[in-house]
């Protein structure tokens, strides 16, 4: 998504402007993917994420510069048919046997093997799944030491059809195509750190 000239702009302000243009263009023609943004080299990746989240750190401190951009639910697919996509959120439970609310704790919601995941600011659920488990984001960031297990369908669909696509990408695409049509969960409910709730201890 980001071509050579963007990465090698010599001045940070021009680099930011080029990143903004690239993002705007990709949103306009609906080609934007989180995978492309997360796989971009630094500082391009951070600049792009800042622009998507309506902030900038030109002064060295993050400052709000605009409205966060929403790119809609993102279809994520587990590479393995036996895996599941999990979204973490802060919730709370009662202390077992009482009506006293316990301290907040991290809970997870399973979205199944294929899911359209919301990516609203500031939670950015889909982005966070891809950051820690994304294929091939994790592969790239760990320099091949680890592999991601969740793939962004839109990115895969495009990449598999490109002339220079690796064979394994084409193979994964063919394998996943059959599972693509029926995502088995709705986007997750948005929960904040303090406002989450969950049923009492099972």
């Amino acid at each position: 998504m980001f071509d050579f000239s963007v990465v090698h702009e010599p001045v940070a302000s021009r680099q930011r402007a080029a990143v903004r243009q690239t993002i705007d263009r990709a949103i306009a023609n609906r080609s934007i993917t989180i995978t492309d943004v997360l796989m971009a080299p630094e500082p391009i990746s951070t600049m792009a994420l800042e622009y998507l989240d309506g902030c900038s750190s030109e002064s060295g401190l993050p400052q709000t510069t605009g409205t966060p951009k929403e790119i809609g639910p993102v279809r994520l697919v587990c590479v393995s048919p036996n895996d599941e996509i999990k979204i973490a959120y802060w919730g709370s439970r009662n202390i077992y046997g009482t009506t006293e609310e316990a301290a907040p704790m991290k809970l997870t919601k399973s979205l199944g093997n294929v899911a359209d995941v919301a990516d609203t600011y500031p939670q950015r659920e889909a982005r966070n799944v891809l950051r820690s488990r994304g294929f091939p984001i994790r592969n790239l960031r760990s320099r091949g030491a680890n592999e991601g297990s969740v793939i962004e369908w839109k990115w895969l669909e495009r990449r598999a059809k490109e002339d220079d696509a690796p064979d394994e990408i084409r193979a994964i695409y063919d394998q996943l195509l059959a599972r693509m049509t029926t995502p088995n969960a709705a986007p997750p409910a948005t929960k904040s750190k303090s406002a989450g709730s969950a049923p009492a201890n099972p």
């Binding site: 990465v7 301290a103 704790m105």
Partner: protein, 314 residues
């Protein structure tokens, strides 16, 4: 029965008695703060600022004879701002109480209640700071669970925007801890680009024992449970009797019972905006009043170098 008897005739002569001093029977957590090293004084302003270098020079390359120069590159930096929370306790002692306690004269009292009001209040404050440090706070008071997390805005940085500020976080495969959960977290966070150097794993006592049950028992064939020869738990300086690899698994009282935290301890710091101090206040009627205050904040130089396994509720 005539004569001096214990049953009836020594009551006036016998002093009401108890061993001097007070036995602490109230649980207060004083085990957490020492893990973060010597507190770091704030340097002015409302936050301790950590400058993060997150991007290198993109012009780095190999080149061949005669190649033209490319564009110059530069490093990139952003500042994280870690705040402190102010803590206080108030003490009030009436003139009547001071008189009757003889200002703590040990000839009159079993324990110096006035002095203890101060030392116990200080312990109550430390308990509160410890509890906050183990909590989920993203703003002051910041907690370790908020720091070691994959999302949320902390120290002014949204971890979803600044992905190099995210900790590696994963949910347990089930609600019961499995070795594979720790393996997954450890390998992902140890490799690039998290590059953690975890040297302690924190969990609750219950989860530590759950893990012990999975790892096996000492002396059982095929077990992978290592026990330290160093000595028992609960002794200052002894971190644990269990290890994951060579990393001690440290049970922490008051830590939520659903997580394992892999911590690179050198990344943590306890900021000291104000050391504990006692100020006498103006008297109210015949009472003396005092204010105990301090301002502290947990921070982290590099949250990315810590991991968390969640949802272990069993």
């Amino acid at each position: 029965m005539a004569g001096v008897t214990a049953a009836s005739s020594i009551a006036d002569a016998l002093k009401t008695q108890a061993l001097s001093g007070v036995q602490e029977s109230l649980f207060k957590n004083d085990e957490v703060l020492g893990n973060f090293g010597t507190p770091i004084p704030f340097t002015g302003g409302s936050t301790i600022n950590i400058k993060h270098h997150y991007s290198g020079n993109a012009s780095v390359s190999t080149y061949s004879e005669g190649d033209a120069l490319g564009a110059a590159g530069s490093q990139s930096y952003i500042t994280a701002q870690w705040p402190a929370a102010y803590y206080r306790a108030q003490i009030q002692i009436t003139g009547h109480a001071e008189d009757q306690l003889r200002n703590g004269n040990m000839g009159a009292v079993f324990y110096d209640q006035i002095a203890l009001e101060f030392t116990m209040a200080a312990e109550d404050l430390r308990d509160r700071v410890s509890t906050d440090c183990l909590g989920t706070g993203l703003t002051a008071p910041i907690g370790i669970q908020g720091i070691v997390d994959s999302a949320g805005t902390i120290a002014g940085l949204n971890k979803s925007t600044y992905s190099w500020f995210q900790s590696y976080e994963t949910a347990g495969a089930t609600t019961t801890v499995a070795i594979a959960d720790l393996d997954g977290a450890a390998q992902n966070s140890s490799d690039a680009d998290y590059a953690a150097q975890v040297d302690q794993i924190w969990t609750s006592w219950k989860q530590k024992n759950k893990l012990k049950g999975i790892m096996g028992q000492v002396g059982a064939s095929g077990n992978s449970y290592l026990q330290s020869p160093a000595g028992p738990l609960n002794t200052a300086g002894i971190t644990s009797d269990m290890f994951y690899g060579n990393i001690p698994i440290k049970p922490i009282r008051d830590l939520t019972n659903s997580i394992f935290l892999g911590l690179t301890m050198s990344t943590f710091f306890l900021g000291m905006m104000r050391d504990w101090k006692v100020d006498p206040l103006a008297k109210t009627d015949d009472s003396s009043k005092y204010l105990l205050t301090g301002a502290w904040g947990l921070g982290n130089r590099n949250p990315k170098k810590n991991w968390k396994v969640t949802t272990l509720t069993a």
